[in-house]
C-alpha cells in the first residue's frame, strides 16, 4: 500500500475514525477516573490512589497495538489507561480503589493499581519495582516455546531501569530473540529523584543496543506516535526478530501518589510547562482537526464517561468488603472441596 499525500497519520497506521474515538474514550476515561479517585481520596473513602495524569496518551497508544485475548500484559501501577485498554472497567478499578472483595486484581488484598486479571491476560503485579520484567521474558519464552502467535508487553517507569532485574530481563530477552516489548514511560522522575540522578544518559533507549535489539524514542504526548512504535515492535516480535525497547517521553502532572507532595522537588513552572503539552488536549485537537470529533461531540463524550464513572463509584462503594477470615485463604492452592 503506497501512502497518499495528505493521508491522515491514523489512516497510514490503519486506524479508522472509530478506532480513534474508542482510543480517545479510554484516554478521557483515565483522565476523569484520576480526578474522581482523587476526590474519593480527599473525601476519605480511598486511602491511597495513583494518578496517571499526563501518561494517558503513551499508555493508550502503546496498549492499543496489543491484541486482546491473545497478547499478555504486564503493566505497572501507573497504567490506568493500559488496563482500561486491556478491558478492565471503571467499576472494576473502583472495586480495587475501595478494596472490595470482588476487586479482580487482588480482592482488596493489594493497594489499588496493583493490577492483575487472568481472564484479560493481565499478569498479577506487585509493589517491588521492575520485578515484572523477568516475568515478561519468561512468558515470552513460553509463547515462543509453545509456538503461540502472540506477544508480551511490559510497562515501567524511568526509575525501574536502574534495578538489576531490568538488566537481567532485557539481556535474557535479547539472547533468545523473544516476542516481548519493553515500554518505558519516562516521566523524568522516580518519585522525587530526577532523571539525572537515575542515569547518566538522555535516553533510556540508548541501552537497547547493549542487549542486541532496537531502542526507539517517541513523544509520549502523541498517541499515534506511540501506537506506531508499538505496532512496529509487535510485528517485529511476531516475525521472530525479537524484542524492542520503546521509550515514551512523558510527564506526570500530579504527585507520585496521593501520599506525595511534589512541591518538594519540582517547580510549579516546570509542571505548568509540561501541562502545555497535555496529551489529552493534543489528541482532541487531532480529532477536531481531522473531523473525527467536534467540540460538541467531545462534550457529550465527557458527560457520558463522567456518568459511567459516577455509576461505577456508587456501585463499587456498595459492594461487599472481604471477610476478615478470608485473609487466610490462597496462601497455597486449596484442596478441592
Amino acid at each position: 500500500m503506497s501512502t497518499r499525500v495528505a493521508q491522515p497519520l491514523h489512516e497510514t497506521l490503519g486506524l479508522t475514525s472509530d478506532d480513534l474515538l474508542a482510543m480517545y474514550r479510554i484516554v478521557l476515561t483515565a483522565r476523569l477516573l484520576d480526578e474522581a479517585s482523587l476526590r474519593q481520596n480527599r473525601m476519605g473513602r480511598a486511602p491511597f490512589v495513583v494518578p496517571a495524569e499526563g501518561h494517558e496518551a503513551c499508555q493508550v497508544g502503546t496498549a492499543w497495538a496489543m491484541r486482546k485475548g491473545v497478547d499478555v500484559w504486564l503493566p505497572y501501577y501507573r497504567d490506568t489507561a493500559v488496563v482500561l485498554t486491556a478491558g478492565m472497567t471503571p467499576y472494576e478499578l473502583f472495586l480495587g480503589i475501595f478494596a472490595k472483595a470482588d476487586d479482580p486484581s487482588s480482592g482488596g488484598r493489594q493497594m489499588p493499581s496493583h493490577w492483575g486479571c487472568k481472564r484479560l491476560g493481565i499478569i498479577t503485579s506487585s509493589s517491588p519495582i521492575a520485578t515484572q520484567l523477568p516475568h515478561a521474558s519468561g512468558i515470552a519464552y513460553a509463547m515462543k516455546y509453545r509456538g503461540e502467535e502472540a506477544v508480551v508487553a511490559a510497562w515501567f517507569g524511568d526509575g525501574a531501569t536502574s534495578e538489576g532485574d531490568w538488566h537481567e530481563a532485557l539481556n535474557f530477552a535479547g539472547i533468545h530473540k523473544l516476542p516481548v516489548i519493553f515500554v518505558c514511560e519516562n516521566n523524568h522522575y522516580a518519585i522525587s529523584v530526577p532523571q539525572a540522578k537515575q542515569m547518566a544518559v538522555q535516553d533510556v533507549a540508548t541501552r537497547a543496543e547493549g542487549y542486541g535489539f532496537p531502542g526507539v524514542v517517541v513523544d509520549g504526548n502523541d498517541v499515534l506516535a506511540c501506537y506506531a512504535a508499538m505496532k512496529t515492535a509487535r510485528e517485529r516480535a511476531l516475525a521472530g526478530e525479537g524484542p524492542t525497547l520503546i521509550e515514551c517521553k512523558t510527564y506526570r502532572f500530579l504527585g507520585h501518589t496521593s501520599d506525595d507532595d511534589d512541591k518538594t522537588y519540582r517547580t510549579r513552572d516546570e509542571v505548568a510547562e509540561a501541562r502545555g503539552h497535555d496529551p489529552v488536549e493534543v489528541f482532541s485537537t487531532y480529532l477536531a482537526d481531522h473531523g473525527v470529533l467536534d467540540t460538541h461531540g467531545a462534550d457529550e463524550l465527557r458527560t457520558q464517561v463522567k456518568e459511567e464513572i459516577d455509576v461505577a463509584i456508587a456501585t463499587a462503594w456498595d459492594a461487599p468488603d472481604p471477610t476478615p477470615e478470608s485473609a487466610m485463604r490462597h496462601v497455597f492452592a486449596e484442596e478441592p472441596a
Binding site: P47, F48, A99, K100, A101, S106, G107, G108, R109, Q110, M111, P112, H114, S126, S127, P128, I129, A130, G159, A160, S162, E163, G164, D165, A190, I191, S192, V193, K197, Q198, M199, D259, T264, Y265, D321, P322, T323, P324, E325, S326, A327, M328, V331
Partner: protein, 329 residues
C-alpha cells in the same frame, strides 16, 4: 529532655551525627529534595550538601553495595531502604558481603555500615509496605539487628550503630514512628547494642516482645494490673542479634512463666529462637508451657481494613486475653 515521637528521635540523632562527623553520609531513594518518604532528611540536602545526602538510583542492591564500598574506604555510610519490603534485592549484598567482610578477610577488613529501614504494618501498607524482616537477618552471623521500640532507645541505639565497627541493620517500625512518643535527653547518649531492657517490672509472668508489638503488650500488661491486679514483666528485646538471652532468662526464672509476642509471621519467626532458648535453659523454672504469639502465616497484611485488622488482632484483644490466661494458669 524533650518529648518526641520515634521518627523525630531518629531524625534528630542522625542529624547530630551528620553534623558532627563528615565521614557520615546518607544514601537512598528520595532522601534528597523529598527528604525521604517519612521526612527524616527534610532540608538536609541543603544543609549537608548533595554529596552527603545522596539520592540514589532505584536499585537497592546497588545502594547497599555502594555503601559497603564507602564503608571500606573510610566513610560511615547510612544506607536507607525506603521500605523494609524492598530490602530483598539487597539480600545478597547484605548477607554475602557486608556480614562476611570481617570474617572472610580474617579480620583484615571491616564494614562499618548502618542500614536503616522502616518496617512493620498496621498503616494500610498492604502486602508490600507492611512486612517484618527481622527473622531473615537475625539469623546471619556477622550482622547486628536492632529494633528500638521507644524514642529514647531509637536515638541511643542509632548512635551506637553509627559507632559500631560492624554492619548494623536498624529497623524502624512505621506504626511506632508517630504513635509512640517519649522523653529523650537533649545531649548525646548511647544505648548499647546487645542488651534487652525490662520495660515494665512484674512477677506474674514474663512477656518478651519488641518493636510496635511491645506497646500492645505494655497496654495489655497495664490493663491486667488495673483490672486484675496482676503484674506482668515486659522485656523489650531491642537487639535481635546479638540476642540478649541473659536478661530474658533472668526475668523468666523470676516469674516462672513466659510468653513471646511478635508481629511477624509466627512460623520460623524470631520468637521461635527466644522460646526455644527459654525451653532449653529454663524449663525447670517454668510453671506453665511457654506461649508464643506471632502473626498469621500469610504474606504481611492485606490492604482492605478488615483483612489488615485480622492480621494485627485475629481475635479481639488476643494478646491481653492470652496474657491473662497464662497469668492465671
Amino acid at each position: 529532655m524533650s518529648e518526641k515521637n520515634l521518627v523525630t528521635a531518629v531524625r534528630d540523632a542522625l542529624h547530630d551525627e551528620l553534623a558532627a562527623d563528615d565521614r557520615v553520609v546518607l544514601l537512598g531513594e528520595d532522601v534528597g529534595n523529598r527528604g525521604g518518604v517519612f521526612r527524616v532528611s527534610a532540608g538536609w540536602m541543603e544543609e549537608f550538601g548533595e554529596d552527603r545526602i545522596i539520592d540514589t538510583p532505584l536499585a537497592e542492591s546497588g545502594i547497599v553495595g555502594v555503601a559497603i564500598g564507602m564503608a571500606m574506604h573510610g566513610m560511615l555510610p547510612v544506607a536507607e531502604i525506603q521500605f523494609a519490603d524492598f530490602i530483598f534485592p539487597a539480600f545478597d549484598q547484605i548477607v554475602s558481603e557486608a556480614a562476611r567482610i570481617r570474617y572472610r578477610s580474617n579480620g583484615d577488613f571491616s564494614c562499618p555500615l548502618v542500614i536503616r529501614t522502616p518496617c512493620g504494618g498496621g498503616i494500610h501498607g498492604a502486602l508490600y509496605h507492611s512486612q517484618s524482616i527481622e527473622a531473615f537477618f537475625a539469623h546471619v552471623p556477622g550482622l547486628k539487628v536492632v529494633m528500638p521500640s521507644t524514642p529514647f532507645d531509637a536515638a541511643g541505639l542509632l548512635r551506637s550503630a553509627l559507632r559500631d565497627p560492624d554492619p548494623v541493620l536498624f529497623l524502624e517500625h512505621k506504626k511506632a514512628y508517630r504513635a509512640v512518643t517519649g522523653d529523650v535527653p537533649d545531649g548525646p547518649y548511647e544505648v548499647p547494642i546487645g542488651l534487652a531492657d525490662v520495660k515494665r517490672e512484674g512477677d506474674a509472668l514474663t512477656c518478651v516482645s519488641y518493636g510496635y508489638t511491645l506497646h500492645i503488650c505494655l497496654e495489655a500488661a497495664g490493663r491486667l494490673a488495673q483490672e486484675d491486679g496482676i503484674e506482668v514483666e515486659v522485656v523489650d528485646v531491642r537487639t535481635l542479634a546479638p540476642l540478649d538471652m541473659v536478661t530474658i532468662l533472668d526475668s523468666v526464672r523470676r516469674t516462672s512463666k513466659a510468653m513471646v509476642v511478635y508481629e511477624d509471621n509466627r512460623t520460623y519467626g524470631a520468637g521461635a529462637e527466644i522460646a526455644a532458648t527459654i525451653a532449653e535453659e529454663a524449663m525447670d523454672d517454668l510453671d506453665a508451657a511457654i506461649v508464643r504469639l506471632g502473626g498469621p502465616d500469610i504474606p504481611a497484611m492485606p490492604f482492605a481494613a478488615p483483612l489488615e485488622h485480622f492480621f494485627m488482632d485475629p481475635e479481639p484483644d488476643h494478646i491481653y486475653r492470652r496474657m491473662r490466661e497464662l497469668a492465671l494458669a
